[in-house]
């Protein structure tokens, strides 16, 4: 698939090109435009990244840009299917939720279709082919309002055959699990059509200002069902999902001494998890969920530790840097390595280190500049990239880099963009941004460059994207009835 991403560079409009440190050789817009064409013509996408002196720098006087190659997104249509009396509302909601999820997957192009298109009788493949649709999704709602059933059939318009059909039992419309059941159905459709799972059955935990301080909030992947989880009236920061999605670890000042707490993903009381002497911060679970990675202060500095959650004991120090701070650990999917943030070189950088090997390797570019500040690393669940934010002209922007420090890419340009977190599909990133003036959480599709706002709330920040929440227990843990407000 032509999902190639190519780095291009162009002069910052307010900078003189003469005093610029040009690391990439593109001095004027003309060459900048010409470059990707040349790269595409003569080099494969893999070598294109290698051509760029990636470890050189994040130039402060040059804008690093990204050109998203518009990848092919097969069109999908989901015509309106007449529903029996009493189920019309269910059918309408179901269609709306599924269409939005398909759109947000960024893997399919949702095509509009008139309401007058007939759907009765045998499928008229020719008609849909003329509309240039690749997939036809027919969703029929049957059963009773108490026990509605959604029968989804996905037709391959090009090959004129029924690809998949499956019935989804839905909770009643007012049930908190209704939306989640439809997210599950939408993810199934994405998998049938693209053989990659969608991200509809995920949630995002984040920090926002509550009535008595900063609190932990949770929102569904489509921006609905935003709700406050913690009620500590203190300072709560750095939420992190457990791999099973049933718990969220976070840091709180609620008992004076900052410590790590865990809270049920459907709310309730937070319970103390780790409290070493001094401050404990930036928790994250190991991919197997047996241990917690976090940072703690020792002798006035901060080091990364792990804590055994099964035996509920045994903090083990993982970083060793005298006179420096190490924090914000994030694990590779195999749990054998972790990335973290450290100022051991006099600037803030991202390092990668083996769990049983003490040597930390720098993966963000070192340059002699005081304004270097690379922070908030998050290792992609697919393992190939690490996202972080780095300063460009004093403003944080989202970058990704391979775990060996190659292939640095800048993904954002506008406003302050901070604290990225990967979706389980490894192609969507959520981050905090001021791009529209206010603070909010935005979702970026790294492949297509599509961007959308998910949450706008006072002080919304430090987002953490959950894994897929398909387990049955998650079905009932949705938002309470009536609190389902679109947060956007």
């Amino acid at each position: 698939m032509a999902s190639t991403v190519v780095l291009i560079l162009f002069d910052s409009p307010n900078m003189s090109p003469t005093n610029g440190q040009m690391h990439y050789g593109a001095r004027n817009p003309l060459t900048a435009i010409a470059m990707p064409a040349i790269v595409l013509a003569f080099l494969g996408p893999a070598t294109a990244a290698a051509q760029v002196p990636v470890r050189d720098s994040i130039p402060t006087d040059v804008r690093v840009g990204i050109l998203y190659q518009p990848s092919f997104r097969p069109g999908i249509v989901m015509p309106l299917v007449p529903a029996p009396q009493g189920l019309r509302e269910v059918a309408d909601s179901a269609r709306r939720i599924i269409l939005r999820d398909l759109d947000y997957s960024d893997r399919l192009q949702v095509m509009p279709v008139g309401e007058d298109v007939p759907i009765e009788g045998p499928i008229n493949y020719g008609l849909w082919d003329e509309l240039e649709a690749v997939w036809l999704l027919v969703g029929a709602v049957e059963g009773t309002p108490d026990q509605p059933v959604l029968r989804l059939s996905l037709h391959d318009v090009v090959f004129r055959l029924l690809q998949e059909v499956r019935a989804f039992e839905l909770p009643p419309l007012a049930h908190p699990g209704f939306r989640h059941a439809l997210h599950t159905a939408a993810d199934a459709v994405v998998r049938w059509a693209t053989s990659s799972a969608g991200i509809a059955t995920t949630r995002i935990a984040y920090v926002a200002e509550g009535p008595g301080g900063s609190e932990i909030y949770v929102v569904d992947s489509d921006g609905f069902g935003a709700r406050r989880l913690s009620s500590d009236s203190s300072i709560a920061l750095s939420p992190a999902w457990s791999p099973t999605g049933d718990r969220i670890a976070f840091m709180s000042y609620k008992n004076g001494d900052p410590a790590i707490y865990e809270i049920d993903a459907d709310g309730g009381r937070s319970v103390l998890s780790v409290d070493l002497p001094g401050m404990d911060l930036t928790p994250t679970y190991t991919p197997d969920g047996t241990r917690l990675g976090f940072a703690a202060t020792i002798d006035g500095r901060t080091e990364v530790y792990t804590y055994d959650l099964v035996r509920n004991c045994c903090p083990e120090r993982a970083t060793f840097a005298r006179y420096a701070n190490s924090l914000s650990p994030t694990f590779a999917p195999d749990g054998r390595r972790f990335a973290f943030n450290s100022d051991r070189l006099g600037q803030l950088h991202v390092f990668v280190q083996g769990m049983n090997n003490g040597s930390a390797e720098l993966i963000t570019p070192y340059i002699y500049d005081r304004s270097v500040h690379n922070a908030g690393p998050d290792w992609s669940p697919t393992g190939d990239r690490i996202a972080f934010h780095g300063w460009v002209g004093g403003e944080p922007q989202i970058f990704t880099v391979a775990p060996d420090g190659r292939g640095l890419r800048q993904l954002t340009q506008r406003g302050r963009n901070e604290d990225p977190s990967w979706a389980p599909d490894g192609r969507h990133i959520i981050f905090a941004s001021t791009r529209d003036g206010a603070t909010g959480l935005w979702v970026l599709d790294v492949v297509s460059g599509r961007i959308r706002r998910l949450v706008s709330a006072a002080g919304a920040r430090l987002p953490d994207w959950s894994g897929r929440l398909d387990s049955a227990s998650q079905l009932t843990s949705g938002a309470a009835v009536g609190s389902e407000s679109n947060n956007r």
Binding site: S214, I235, L237, S238, G256, D257, P258, G278, M279, L281, T282, A295, T297, D299, G300, R301, T302, N325, L327, S328, N341, D343, L348, R370, H373, A375, G376, H389, G394, P396, E418, D419, R461, L462
Partner: protein, 197 residues
Amino acid sequence: MASTWKKSAGWLGTLVLAVTMVACGGTPPPEPAPEPEPEPQVEEQAVDEAAERARLEEEARRRREDEEQRRREAERNRVLSIIAERVHFDFDKSDIRPDAEEVLQRKVVVLREYAGVSFRIEGHCDERGSNEYNLALGQRRAEAVRRYLVSYGLDASRFTTISYGEERPAMRASNEDAWAQNRRAEFNVTRYGQLGN
């Protein structure tokens, strides 16, 4: 036997009551009671003189005490304002600047004088760095201040440290001035010792 004991106890009770009533009668102004109560009035004259003396003495004592109190209060305010004085830091630094050293020197003097006083050192940052890194940076600032004070021979157990990162800005704005104000250490007295709370 038991009943006579009870009776004498009753007598004793009334006697004690009367004595205490007389004794207490000293403090209020010696105006004739509105209701004529023959028995206490007999002793009123003697009580009057004693009460007057006591009142004058009390007044002098209170004046002295007030003065002492005012002096103590002024001293206490002086000490507390010296302790509360914030120190500021350069961007992304935890070094003690010369102006901060002056502030800390004043603290060293009063801390030596008032050995019972303890406080918490709170490290704060401006909003520019990452939320999480600022927690570590704030901690480093608080520790730098603590190390400085301890290096002057002050007992380390008198100081605790906490970092609030960028979560508690002194000034809510996004400009150089606000940032400079927010990069600071604050001091929160946890034990007042001889200052009295």
